[in-house]
């Protein structure tokens, strides 16, 4: 199976904070890969390095054989990116915004039009598309962002907590879409804190902790590795990240 991306011995220091600590990871084409990990474990940083927004301290990153540092535009043409808590151009209407994004990727007029209309329809944004994004709700904005990441038909999707703020119907659409795209060979790496989502749609998941991979594999592998085959992913996650004893914390907070 050809690899969508390969990361070797990656390190990223922010001053004396090790955001990524000697991380090695590769993902096959057509997989949906889930990235889990507590706050500050380096998920977003890893994704930013992959799209060339952050320069790694050392190590190598190859996206379909291209290095995001030496050939950023080459990588970005193949990638759709959803940042965490993204800021849009609030003064553009939804349609103008998507039009703008489509133009950045050089999509021909007819295709651009057709794809944008499809997404607007699917996400129930029809009728609101000529309003400025400043007046959109959080979830509506998120739908626009996701659309923006998809309209140029990328081979790799890098999504940082993409389902944030989406209603159940739209979340379901995105999940099914990722699944369907995977069937067509599109690779997805996304981070989430909702473990059920990871369990439901990921071919493989990885748990990050303090910038390194704690473990990686499909959900059942993880459960076996943690020595708790019968339990939920949540229990596995809590055990692996060493924070299984939340009860004492809660007791303390509630006093």
């Amino acid at each position: 199976m050809p690899k969508a991306f390969e990361i070797t011995s990656l390190v990223k220091d922010f001053g004396n904070v090790k955001a990524i600590n000697d991380l090695t990871l590769s993902v096959d084409e057509g997989q949906v890969f889930g990235l889990l990990g507590p706050n500050g474990s380096g998920k977003s940083t890893l994704m930013k390095i992959m799209i060339g927004l952050v320069r790694p301290t050392s190590g190598s990153v190859q996206i379909f054989g291209k290095d995001p540092q030496s050939d950023p535009t080459g990588v970005r043409k193949m990638v759709g990116y959803v940042p965490e808590s993204p800021r849009l151009y609030d003064f553009l209407t939804a349609r103008e915004y998507l039009d703008f994004v489509g133009d950045l990727y050089g999509i021909p007029l007819e295709q651009k039009k057709e794809r944008i209309e499809h997404f607007l329809e699917a996400f129930e944004l029809k009728g609101r598309e000529d309003e400025m994004l400043g007046g959109f709700s959080q979830g509506m904005k998120q739908k626009v962002i996701i659309t923006g990441a998809l309209i140029h038909r990328p081979k790799l999707l890098i999504m940082d907590e993409p389902l944030n703020g989406l209603d159940p119907r739209s979340a379901k659409i995105v999940k099914d879409l990722l699944h369907k795209l995977a069937g067509e060979g599109v690779t997805t790496i996304f981070s989430t804190h909702v473990l059920e989502i990871a369990q439901a749609i990921c071919d493989r998941v990885a748990i990050m902790y303090k910038g390194a991979l704690l473990s990686e594999g499909n959900v059942n592998d993880l459960k076996k590795m943690a020595g708790m085959p019968g339990s939920s992913l949540e229990d596995v996650f809590l055990k692996l990240t060493g924070i299984d004893d939340v009860r004492a914390v809660v007791e303390e907070l509630a006093r």
Binding site: I51, G52, L53, V54, R55, Q69, P72, T73, R76, K77, Y81, P83, P86, R87, L88, Y89, D90, F91, L92, T93, R95, E96, D99, F100, V101, D103, L104, Y105, G106, L109, K112, K113, I116, D130, E131, M132, G134, G135
Partner: protein
Amino acid sequence: MRLQNVRIISTILLFAQLRLTRQGPRQSWYRTYRGLTVINAAVFMATFALVYVIMTQVVTGVDLGVILPIAVQLLSMIPLVIIAIVVIYGILFVIGESAQYTSSEMINYMPITSTEYVLGSSLSTVMMYLFILTAALGISLGIALPLGYLDVWALSAVMATFFMIVGGFISEIIRALVNRVSSSFSKRGGRSAIISRAVLIVLVLAVFQLLFNVNLLYKVIQFLAPQMQALWFVPVFWPSLSVMYSVAGMVNMAAIFTGLTLALGFGLMGAAVLLRERYWVPLPVTIKLGTSKAGTYQGTGMLSRLGFTQGEVAMIRKDTRSLFRRKEMVRFLAVPIIIMVPLLFTIGSGDATGDFYAAVMICLMGEGMFGLFMSIISLGQEGPAVWHILSSPLDAESLFRAKLMAPLLISLVPAVLLPTVISVVMGFNALYASSLMIVGLVVTILAVLFGSYISPKYADFEEKPRNAYVRGTGMFIGLLGVVLISAACVSPIVFYILWKSLALSIGFSKFVALGSTVAIAMVAAILLYRLAKGSIKELYKHALE
């Protein structure tokens, strides 16, 4: 009203301005109250020492009778100058806040009253620009002390300090009014609302700028009433009058005008609070654009026929929209306009040559400033949305072309309109009209190039209560640079005039002069183009840390 709240608000707003830098929040010794105190004390001492030395060592020989009236006038004018400067800063910064920021600003959902907010915000403005006041007070003390006017200085200092706070109140009034204009248009909706809103905001700002324009006020004093006393009914003169009467020893009159000044200050504060209560909308309704053009997508337009790629055209289009649609951008359109308007009144003396040179100055200043503003904010205006650019397949070269073209296209409109209108109104002959046009075009292009060079270097992507888009240093260098560049370009023409006035026999034709101007401009343009391109590439490199 709780003073505690006032203190907290002013601290938050002040630190937001001081500490949010391009490299993220920064903490250093001068970004604290103690640091500010040290800086202001130093400014005061330095300016005082300098002026005192000049007064006692250099101008000793001059007749006191000449200096005294000038000194008194200076001392009395200080509150006026201070308020004028604060109002200009108010126009620049208070209305520059971004809607997204304010809507999530703590202040809007915390239990804080309008009075507390207005006081806190005004105080933060005062603290931020306190160095202007301390410099003015240092200078005036340097003048007052050798002349034995310590008491007058003290009164002037109190008045100036008070008026500085009043300037903060006026900024709050402007902010509330601009907000009011904004929200009334967003209810109406449609594309025309966007333009009308921009125009009306410019008007509000122009009126306030004219009301507090030192230059204009000074002219009023000089021409309408040689005696400032005759203008007792104009409120901004009240602190000056109280200083003048106290110099003249007319204690009663001085007391009356001091009282009036205080009343004016509290009245304006009341007005600011009232207007904020009435018009402040923390979460403005976004303007709904009409769906008349529903279903339209951008195809390839004129620009792509000129050789711009699809992505570049999209970028240019977005930036043009940004300029008119974002309330906080309108000030960049407004400032050159409101600075130029009072100057326009200076031409029309009747002497065609004199008018021509005045027109050249206006075109140089107006178009230069406009071109600079449009380009110097071109990157910073992206704000936190800059990730779009940095994660898009647009490379540095494309970004450079788009970010250069958008401001250039926008600035070319006034660059053509202004000289045309002036030439038609003044009835300039063909030579004057075409020279004016050339000078304007040259300075516009050079200013845009220079701004494009500064913009990536000093871009400010931070979202603060008051968005700047470009750091203060960058703006300063930009303005200075445009002045120098314009000077270099017109120098052959100035040289030509001097040459002619000397009436030397060796010919130096005006065509040589104009030709030299164009030649200098072309060299400068090529140089700046290179620099600007390099500067965007640098940004790309350093953005990835």
